[in-house]
């Protein structure tokens, strides 16, 4: 019961979704499964929030090192949750103005909008922005044109970086541009293609795309085999050790 039922559930749901793609009669089954999946995903966020609260409350109550930061996490969590669930500061919906809960929970001016606009967005985007420093620093230390492969990687990165900035115009702007009104010659196109911004386009549109497509095809095959292993019950790692 503890291990067989989950295997049957996973297989049934998975194959229903696959079948619903091919048999029109079962199309709605796949759509319903998708809605159920979204509901469970939303509940999983509740589980995640509950777990976050549990772990941090434990840390605060035991006064473990760094408990003050846990207290901040709890405070930020509870405040955001309260204002979001109670729709604090939202305006009523213009059509259903007599229903106080009908307003947009994330509409401009609401408390949750304020939290996103002035706390979550600046903080998360700054964290990502800081990666610019670390990527540049890591590249400076690690990039060495020691062999053909490393030279290709370094050269491509350099061209793409330059090609997406005004430096491309400064460095290779002297190369002839294609005239729009005339039939471009073979060599005209060649010279034009050597401009850094054009070279970047070619790298992104041909070489990079070829590599990305091969990687995507590989990923697709990997996902297909892993999914089949899960659905057929060959891969049971998601069931855990079975100790509980």
């Amino acid at each position: 019961m503890k291990r067989t039922a989950p295997l049957l559930i996973a297989a049934t749901v998975g194959f229903i979704i696959i079948v619903s793609t091919f048999i029109p009669y079962t199309e709605s089954w796949g759509e319903d499964s998708m809605i159920w999946f979204d509901i469970l995903a939303a509940v999983a966020f509740v589980l995640g929030g509950g777990n976050l609260l549990k772990m941090n409350l434990k840390k605060v109550s035991e006064r473990r090192p760094g408990w003050a930061y846990s207290a901040i996490i709890i405070a930020a969590f509870l405040i955001t949750l309260t204002v979001g669930l109670l729709k604090v500061g939202t305006h009523p919906n213009e059509v259903f103005w007599n229903k106080p809960w009908s307003g947009d929970y994330i509409g401009e001016g609401s408390a949750l909008w304020w939290i996103y606009e002035y706390l979550i967005y600046p903080l998360t985007s700054t964290m990502f922005a800081m990666l610019a420093f670390y990527i540049a620093s890591a590249a400076f230390r690690a990039f060495r044109a020691k062999n053909m492969e490393a030279s290709l990687l370094l050269g491509t990165a350099f061209i793409v970086l330059l090609g997406r900035t005004y430096a491309a115009i400064i460095l290779t702007g002297w190369l002839p541009e294609l005239a729009h009104d005339a039939e471009p010659s073979f060599f005209g196109q060649l010279w034009n293609g050597l401009r850094l911004e054009k070279l970047t386009e070619t790298i992104m549109g041909v070489f990079n795309l070829a590599g990305s497509r091969a990687i995507n095809i590989g990923i697709a095959l990997g996902i297909a085999s892993t999914s089949l292993k899960v659905l057929l019950g060959i891969d049971r790692s998601y069931l855990g050790t079975g100790e509980d």
């Binding site: 503890k2 039922a5 295997l7 559930i9 749901v13 979704i17 696959i18 159920w36 999946f37 509901i39 469970l40 995903a41 939303a42 930061y69 709890i74 405070a75 969590f77 509870l78 955001t80 979001g84 305006h91 059509v95 103005w97 929970y105 994330i106 939290i115 606009e117 600046p122 903080l123 700054t126 800081m130 610019a132 990527i135 370094l154 491509t156 990165a157 970086l161 997406r164 073979f186 196109q189 293609g193 790298i203 992104m204 041909v206 070489f207 070829a210 590599g211 497509r213 091969a214 095809i217 697709a220 095959l221 996902i223 297909a224 892993t226 999914s227 899960v230 659905l231 998601y238 509980d244």
Partner: protein, 317 residues
């Protein structure tokens, strides 16, 4: 960190503190102005049934226009955002309490934000709305289809949801395996179909068609066709590199090596793109600090009591 690095950081902090002090003493900055608009809803007999005010952010240069006023909550938000942005940037010096505080805020707020989104977009309309549509319509989702009837099949996802939350209980952890199995099975099904369609069949098709690219006049576009052929060679050689059932020797080995070169170009391009993306994000954050918070751009600075006239002489302008 050595003494030289400490000295550099100290100089940066002192210069920043002096600059901020100078801005506070001389200029107007860090304010958000909003324009108010009255929304009125009329009842069937024409009388005013309800009315409320909405506020839209306007540039500071419009602060003297009619209906424009200082927004205290948004101004507090601007300062909070700016100070927390600086707290995150302080990590460049090293891990410190300011960074950890900002990090804790983002962890707590983001978790709750996602929970709230899930609650209002999935749990209420799709779960509760399907089980008790009449009740849901009376308060949360009045726009719900008036013909919608209770669909008791949705008691199953409700049951699975409760079973999933059982994981928080000290005993009976295995109960959450059922909803987890649903999750895993559905993910496997969706991914299998989605990836085979979009990343396998569609990618192969897009690679092969067209091989010969025609130009506007109907002739063969030489460079575009060379590009298409290069793409086919690239994809095949990369796939041969990924294929380990054959030993990479002879022709296979040489093709695989070509595949490595294509992959190196892909990684280089990916690296360049990522760096550019991060730098764009960084410049966005600096714009927020310098323009939105400190009002260092003249169109904004001119707006309130001629701040630019204070800055320019200081810069020798």
């Amino acid at each position: 960190m050595n003494n030289r690095a400490n000295a550099i950081w100290a100089i940066i902090f002192v210069v920043a503190a002096i600059f901020l002090g100078w801005r506070i003493a001389t200029g107007n900055f860090g304010r958000v102005y909003v324009k108010s608009q009255q929304v009125t809803v009329n009842a069937d007999d024409g009388s005013v049934a309800a009315s409320w005010e909405t506020h839209t952010k306007v540039p500071p240069r419009d602060h003297q226009e009619e209906g424009v006023s200082l927004s205290i909550p948004r101004t507090i938000g601007l300062w909070a955002g700016a100070i927390l942005t600086l707290c995150i940037f302080s990590f460049l010096y090293g891990d410190n309490p300011f960074y950890k505080t900002a990090e804790s805020i983002v962890v707590g707020a983001s978790a709750a934000y996602l929970m709230v989104i899930g609650f209002w977009t999935q749990i209420i309309p799709n779960l509760i709305g399907n089980i008790v549509p009449d009740w849901t319509r009376t308060w949360a989702t009045p726009g719900l289809d008036p013909e919608a009837k209770a669909d008791y099949v949705y008691l199953l996802p409700l049951m699975l949801s409760i079973m999933l939350l059982w994981r928080l209980a000290p005993v009976g952890g295995w109960i959450s395996r059922w909803p987890l199995a649903f999750f895993i099975g559905a993910t496997a099904g969706f991914r299998l179909i989605g990836f085979m369609e979009a990343d396998f069949v569609a990618q192969i098709r897009a690679t092969i068609i067209p091989i010969w690219v025609k130009d506007a006049a109907g002739g063969v576009d030489i460079w575009a066709s060379i590009g298409a052929l290069t793409m086919i060679v690239g994809v095949i050689s990369c796939l041969i590199y990924f294929f380990f059932s054959l030993e990479h020797k002879g022709v296979v080995g040489k093709t695989a090596r070509l595949g490595i070169w294509f992959l190196m170009v892909t990684f280089g391009a990916g690296f360049g793109y990522t760096v550019m993306g991060r730098i764009a994000l960084l410049s966005q954050r600096l714009e927020f600090l310098f323009y939105e918070w400190l009002w260092l751009d003249s169109p904004t600075a001119d707006a309130v009591s001629g701040t630019a006239s204070l800055i320019m002489p200081a810069l020798g302008g």
